[in-house]
Amino acid sequence: MLASDSRPSVIEVRGLSKTFRTRNRGTLEALHNVDLDVRLGEFVCVVGPSGCGKTTLLNILGELEPKSTGSIRFTFPPSERPLLSIVFQEQGVFPWLTVLDNTAFGLMARGVGRAEREVRARAVLDRVGLARFLHAYPRELSGGMKQRVNLARAFANDPDLLLMDEPFAAVDEHTKLILQDGLLQMWEGSRKTVVFITHSIEEAIRLADRIVVMSARPGRIKTQIPVNIPRPRNVYELQTSPEFLRVRSTVWEALKEEVLALAEREADQ
């Protein structure tokens, strides 16, 4: 299936490695020789055991951390858009800004005028169902609502690429479904390229076109599994479909070894 995809590749990661220096002058290899291609408009989920370097990979893609070796090429078609926005976990919403100002933050940073950025932020907030809370502060919102502000902020910035670092990890299971549904609806409207980090196999299947499974540390790409569930998807009904179950067992087979390897390593320490 992947081979027949005619969309151009827009992210090309080749031989990417990352080594951290530890406090006692040792080294820790977080990523080892990672090769990854992402196509235009593709939704890719990266899953892996904890500490496998998924977040490091995302931070390097987002230029928040330097890489050690290897190369990353972004080949998006030329446009006025910013390259990327990152969605962090819940606490990434600024408590001192209202919902509207939080959402418009990326536009503000790019120097978009107040009137225009408010129009654009309002439009996105409308879509995530926060139109009634434009002038509320994050303190007044629930965890799920804060996370919607986080999503809105990234979408309002209108980048070529969205990087998401376990954005729904801190919310309960039911809220998670609602947020996933909201994310998919927004994504359907824009078909942006997404790299989404998660530790939840189910979340990855509901969202992704392709799941990238990483090995335990040092993180390598172990296998890649396409998810051939037609879109638009109904996240509330998906878990009983045969394709969902098939992909879940395939991903789990790949992940199981890594999780067990990690558990063994931790038991040895």
Partner: protein, 283 residues
Amino acid sequence: MTTPASEASGAASGVILATSVRSTTREERFAWLTLERVFMIFSPLLLLLIWEALSRAGVLDVRIFSRPTLVAVLIWNMALDGSLWKNTAATLARLVIGMIVGVVPGLFLGLTMGLFRVPRAIINPLVSATYVLPRIALFPLVLLIIGLNETSNIVMIALGPFFIMTISAMAAVLNVDPVYLRVARSFKVSTRDMYARVVLPAAMPLIFSGLKLSLGLGLLGVISVEFLLANEGLGYMIWHSWQILSLGESMAGLLVTGLLGYLMFLALDRLERALVPWAGPEH
């Protein structure tokens, strides 16, 4: 002095809470607010009542401790003859000027030290070394350098707030949650926006804590220098009355000082709510 004031700040944040979007716990929060409001008045009143009762029962010697009703009459008389206003105005003026002279440079120094590593490395040892000195011990030195005048008094008052603001503004900047900086960097904000729109607002709550501590120290400073070297002001009133064994007046000075501090604390609280409207109560 701090107890009723911090209760008041609790009640104040309760007001913001009551307007919260989520209404499920609204009644619960409203009840809490009422409780705070009631005790804000009731607790100090109860203390005065006990004082009055003990004094009338003969447990407290009225010649030493006076009693609230007698002190109230004294304050009334001082208000009529104008000495109350004169002394209060003198203390208030010193406090306000001393606070400004201490807080403003302290705030800027602390922010600079928080933001930039080199000034922090250079100045931090000096702050640590001088901060621990009891400031009143510096008074003779200050008098020697500046002279026996009002400027010396102001400098003495300003020292406490200056150090507290330096230290707390620096700590406020250094303790900004790194996730906010990562978010801001991911949106490629300019350095100026990073400071003005992220670091500074994130540091505001801790800066206000420093400001409240500064007010307490400023008040301590005013009363201290007025004990030592002044011929008007509430500190002078307390100390002078004590020296001529006019203990009721000394008590009156104490009560007015307490009230003054309390009102200034409330004013600061108002200012905080206006400048940091997004901050909720402590969780």
